[in-house]
């Protein structure tokens, strides 16, 4: 059953007599989704005090609400909420995986595509690792083969080559730790210390022979794998399937092509997340590979699939329609929450706003899988802008930064990583290649004056 949900926008008309006085109103009918599905979403259910009480008053859940993963790890470290801790660790695993991808894109673009004769030859190592992270195995092996076996990256290059010759996917924690340095025993509730010391100083082939401080992107992969292991150790054994589906959203490399099933998902995985209900977790995991087919398959059980479905016209995701769908779901949820809670409450809008962002992200995932790169980009940037209202999701922000770096745009990634560096010091490892990308693009750019 589809509902038609009517939203009246009080658009002040041209010709009104005094400020704030609407003289006419335009009425717009937005398509919204089945109320039965909407009622299963976490914002709708959290409108009920008894359901919400589990998440109130706890520092860990406050940190999750504020998208502060580092604070969530600390708060959940006492072991009071295993799923909360697992979720926070998984968030950091996603964050550092996206940071590794950001570093990989910036490295390949700056030192590979824009490489200079003056670059140290052993930069081939980080370029090779960059290709490996991007899933470009042959290019990775080619670059790694050019690394001086006796140089500072010789042993690391050998280990990467061995790993890539075994399988083309990103190596496991043990292998990564052997390459970039052990982060210590995986201990849920902790975060390994980060050293800003470079992995090597490579000398530029110029008269000045300046030293370049180089940080191995493998460090970020290792950190990601460490937190993924911590998430796995923290989560109840029954949640292993859920954890795999949750991890799929920000997976790097070749996504899992398998069909997913709807799993029972505890609210600890959903509260304040971009998955609004249990079926959304499976839908997003599947949509990242199957795109529109996944929308069709999941539209009667996933609210995100149902919201995105009308935005698909003639086999294409239409960004403006997705934006409308997001707004409509927000409004529909706000109305439902007011019904459930016996009136409008302050938390309703912030919760409902997250559903709006969730729809944009779902549309983006589907558009990406549907080879609509630019349309997915429009939704990506709109989602980032909407987070102005809900608080910046650091994992998504890093994914945008990685995407930008892949597009050879260093400016937004610089801003985003600068914004996040205090909370996540290990992001410092992304700085050097991003700077290089910026400087190299700037040197080739058209002239520009400072403007007032």
């Amino acid at each position: 059953m589809r509902l038609r949900f009517t939203i009246v926008l009080a658009a002040l008309a041209i010709g009104c007599g005094s400020e704030g006085e609407p003289s006419t109103a335009t009425e717009k009918v937005y398509a919204a989704v089945d109320g039965a599905l909407v009622s299963k979403t976490w914002p709708a259910r959290m409108a009920d005090d008894s359901v919400r009480s589990r998440f109130e008053g706890g520092e860990g859940w406050r940190a999750i609400f504020e998208s502060d993963l580092q604070a969530a790890i600390s708060a959940f470290s006492s072991g009071t909420d295993a799923r909360g801790l697992a979720r926070a660790h998984q968030g950091l695993a996603d964050l550092y995986r996206q940071a590794a991808l950001l570093s990989a894109h910036a490295t390949v673009e700056a030192y590979g595509v824009d490489g200079l004769e003056t670059d140290p030859t052993d930069l081939a190592y980080v370029i090779g690792v960059g290709h490996a992270i991007r899933g470009e195995r042959d290019s990775a092996l080619e670059r790694l083969a050019a690394v001086d076996a006796d140089g500072p990256f010789g042993a690391r290059a050998k280990a990467w080559k061995a790993a890539l010759s075994r399988e083309s996917k990103i190596p496991d924690l043990k292998t990564l730790a052997a390459i970039s340095g052990d982060l210590g025993e995986v201990t849920p509730g902790t975060d390994p210390a980060f050293s800003p010391e470079p992995d090597a100083s490579l000398i530029e082939r110029t008269e000045q022979a300046k030293a370049m401080a180089v940080m191995d992107p493998t460090r970020l992969l290792t950190r990601s794998a460490w937190h993924a292991a911590a998430a796995s150790m923290s989560a109840p054994p029954t949640d292993s399937g859920v954890l795999a589906q949750v991890a799929a959203r920000y997976a790097v490399g070749n996504p899992d092509p398998n069909t997913h099933v709807e799993l029972p998902v505890d609210d600890a995985w959903l509260f304040c997340s971009n998955d609004l209900m249990a079926a959304d977790v499976g839908f997003i995991a599947e949509a990242s590979v199957k795109g529109i087919d996944a929308v069709t398959a999941w539209a009667d059980k996933s609210v995100l699939a149902a919201a995105v479905k009308p935005a698909i016209i003639d086999g294409k995701v239409v960004p403006d329609e997705v934006l409308d769908a997001g707004f409509a779901l927000q409004k529909q949820l706000q109305a439902m929450m007011a019904d459930i809670g016996g009136g409008e409450q302050a938390f309703h809008r912030p919760f409902a706003l997250r559903s709006r962002v969730a729809v944009l992200l779902a549309g983006m995932v589907v558009a990406d899988a549907n080879d609509q790169y630019r349309d997915a980009g429009i939704l990506r940037l709109n989602a980032l802008e909407r987070m102005e209202q809900t608080g910046l999701d650091p994992v998504f922000a890093l994914s945008v930064a990685a995407w930008d770096a892949g597009n050879r745009n260093p400016l937004r990634p610089e801003e985003l990583t600068h914004q996040l560096k205090t909370s996540y010091p290990a992001l410092f490892a992304t700085r050097a290649p991003l700077e290089a990308l910026h400087l190299r693009r700037s040197r080739n750019a058209g002239p520009s004056n400072p403007v007032h």
């Binding site: 980009g377 058209g446 400072p450």
Partner: protein, 517 residues
């Protein structure tokens, strides 16, 4: 004027021009000074010109892909020292004439003509040597060296040869107010607003019939006018207004990628200010935390602040920013006093004197910045006053800023301003002794040396290191008192669809914009 009257006045102005659903009115920082791209001096100029002209190449606002709307094909020629450009057929100028290779070469020739006093063109003279028409649609642009990625450098807007009698183009031609371009809109600048009428073309099909640029006044009035749907957008929303607009479902806040930093420029050639110690003392007199709190509305410790202190001429996220140079968030009056005394100043009756004369500082601020940082001028003046300096304050009109301050002919001791940058963050023109934008003719051989080091750098490491050193030296010599970077946000009504905001140029993707209803 009361707020209510101000809103009515703004509403009336907006209503006078809104006729169809496809009209879009918006508030700009200021009325553009010139619609001639050779004379863009403000960001409002750049944004407005983006509506009227096509740049030869530009970057896609979403994917960053290098694209062109006017070039059909190109090829690198003469072993990398030239590029042969074939412009598309069928593109019309707003005067009805066809775009041809002649226009491309005319634009190049105009930029190379010493009779064109354009700082924009001056940069192109550094690497373009000429242009030759090889056919009706084919132009060959030559360089003085091999350029690795020539298209990325050729982002200049194309001018119509038919509209000029000579390649020497002066800023005061009628063209600056009523330009002719090949862009999506035909612009006309008036005293209080600029109108842009859609011009359908083979390469542009704008969905908006008319755009109306109005000068934004009081930010509160702008906000109310937007919420009441009497304009559809505000290009620059000051931080204090952002929460109200974010809370509205009828408005979307839009990120605008622009690198802007604020400063107080010091006239280092005037009186006591020529002594570095006095400039350093003034730097210590400023309590930036208070300035930021009272003018921008950001308190110390605010999370995700849009406004961050700086200690040099770059934003903190920039590769050029030297993190080892500390910022000066609070005043240190005792240290300031020590420096002033070392410089030979005396404090008599609570006022600082030099050679028996009380020091009076003439402080100015570009007037339209008062919308983004209300009362900043008086806050700075108050802090100087509290530290023992007499002062005279005045807001500087855009014309006076351009004609007097930037021409190095003003009598100010201190001026408050803001510089904005895109991908290229070069500051050589601001600080080199012969820099074209060195407003008080600050001269330092050490700074000139570092700027030369930057220019001569072979690698990006060398280039970055040169600017890191420059940052440190400028923080010591203080031709500017560096204040903060402030990010820029826009707000648009949700009825405005497809409104992708391009970094720096803003309206690059205007063809996709529409107004619903």
């Amino acid at each position: 004027m009361s707020l209510k009257h101000a809103i009515r006045a703004a509403t009336g102005l907006a209503l006078a021009f809104v006729g169809t659903g496809a009209t879009l009115a918006y508030f700009e920082e200021s009325i553009p000074m010139s619609l001639n791209p050779l004379y863009a001096k403000t960001m409002a100029d750049h944004r407005a010109q983006e509506l009227v002209f096509d740049r030869l190449w530009f970057n896609d606002a979403i994917t960053n892909e290098l694209r062109s709307r006017v070039v059909q094909k190109y090829q690198v020629a003469e072993a990398g020292r030239a590029v042969e450009i074939t412009v598309k057929s069928g593109i019309r100028w707003h005067n009805g004439q066809a775009l041809s290779a002649k226009d491309v070469c005319f634009t190049v020739d105009a930029m190379l003509d010493p009779g064109t006093p354009s700082t924009v063109a001056a940069h192109y003279r550094e690497f373009i040597t000429g242009c030759e028409e090889k056919g009706p649609q084919v132009a060959l642009v030559r360089f003085n060296r091999v350029l690795p990625k020539p298209r990325e450098r050729l982002g200049f807007p194309i001018l119509p040869a038919s509209e000029f009698n000579s390649t020497a183009i002066s800023p005061d031609l009628q063209f600056s107010a009523r330009p002719i371009g090949t862009g999506p809109f035909n612009g006309k600048r008036g005293l209080r607003m600029v109108t842009f009428d859609a011009f359908a073309n083979t390469h542009h099909m704008p969905k908006i019939v008319q755009m109306q640029l109005q000068e934004g006044g009081d930010p509160l009035v702008q906000t109310k006018t937007l919420i009441n749907n009497n304009v559809q957008g505000i290009v620059v929303v000051p931080p204090p207004q952002r929460p109200d607009l974010s809370a509205s479902d009828d408005v979307s806040m839009k990120a605008y990628d622009l690198r802007s930093w604020w400063y107080v420029s010091v006239n280092s050639n005037k009186g006591a200010l020529s002594d570095k110690r006095v400039r350093q003392a003034l730097n210590l007199v400023l309590n930036r935390n208070e300035l930021r709190q009272y003018s921008i509305g950001v308190k110390p410790g605010d999370k995700n602040s849009p406004c961050e202190f700086i200690s040099g001429p770059f934003i903190p996220a920039s590769p050029y920013y030297n993190v080892e140079v500390p910022v000066q968030p609070n005043a240190n009056l005792s240290r300031a006093e020590g420096l002033l005394k070392q410089a030979g100043l005396e404090k008599l009756g609570g006022r600082w004197h030099k050679d028996g004369q009380a020091i009076t500082l003439r402080v100015g601020m570009l007037a339209n910045l008062n919308h983004e940082a209300p009362d900043l001028l008086s806050q700075v003046a108050n802090q100087l006053g509290a530290a023992g300096f007499d002062r005279l304050t005045s807001k500087i009109s855009a014309d006076e800023w351009d004609d007097s301050v930037m021409a190095g002919q003003s009598d100010f001791d201190l001026v408050i301003g803001k510089w904005s940058f895109g991908l290229v963050e070069e500051v050589n023109e601001l600080f080199h002794s012969k820099g074209r934008q060195n407003m008080f003719r600050f001269a330092s051989s050490e700074v000139d040396q570092l700027l030369a080091e930057y220019e001569d750098a072979v690698t990006d490491t060398e280039q970055r290191d040169a600017y890191h050193k420059l940052h440190k030296v400028l923080n010591d010599q203080l031709p500017y008192l560096f204040l903060w970077k402030l990010d820029t946000k826009s707000a648009w009504r949700t009825e405005v669809r497809g409104n992708i905001v391009a970094p720096y140029y803003y309206f690059t993707e205007i063809d996709a914009w529409s107004v619903e209803g």
